[in-house]
Amino acid sequence: MLHTVNKSPTERNALESCLKHLKKGSAVLLIEDGVYGALRGTASTKMVEQALKIHPIYALSPDIEARGMQDRVIEGIKLVDYNGFVDLAVEYPGVQAWL
């Protein structure tokens, strides 16, 4: 399953709840304000780094750049553009949005 998260982890509980519900083989894609979850040195970094040990985590680079966060992404998080988003949605057997 590909899980998409579009909320900032410092404003809402969506990312935290998502990470608790990942099964083996699942991946996370951070989009929109969700990309704040991809950053180094924040209150949520440790939680994300823990999940990253087990699950691939992606972040939508257009959203990262829009927010000026291009130099702050946690090592190991893969950046994708909209084409990459489409590829992920196709590659995984389903897409679950954590709204």
Partner: protein, 120 residues
């Protein structure tokens, strides 16, 4: 090649959901995938308002969907129940969108290989 269904739950400009959905849908089409339907639910129905008039230097979210649909024969469906309580009717519906029932959303889930949801 896959058949994708798109669900949009938020209105234009207020939330980024419709922007992301548009850019995703466009990328999917360019990659050769088929869009079974774009379904507008909740505040998503506001994406279909013909009266929308953004500032000159801003993207026109409604017309952008309309053009994409026309160029690629995409079915843009607005939920009738969600639309009525939000003041979207034939009277202010942009050309290229159609109003229909929620069953069209369930059908999209059944017929598509993937349903991708954009919301708040």
């Amino acid at each position: 090649m896959m058949k994708l269904g798109i669900l949009i739950n938020e209105g234009p400009y207020t939330h980024q959901a419709s922007d992301t959905a548009y850019l995703f849908t466009k990328a999917a089409i360019e990659k050769g995938h088929k869009i079974h339907r774009v379904f507008f639910y909740n505040d998503g129905v506001y994406n279909a308002s013909r009266l929308t008039e953004p500032p000159q230097d801003d993207r026109h979210i409604v017309n952008r969907w309309q053009k994409l649909a026309k160029d690629h024969h995409i079915d843009l469906v607005v939920c009738v129940a969600a639309a009525l309580r939000r003041g979207i009717k034939d009277e202010n519906l942009q050309e290229g969108f159609r109003i229909s029932g929620l069953g069209q959303l369930v059908e999209t889930g059944i017929q598509s290989d993937r349903l991708v949801t954009f919301g708040d």
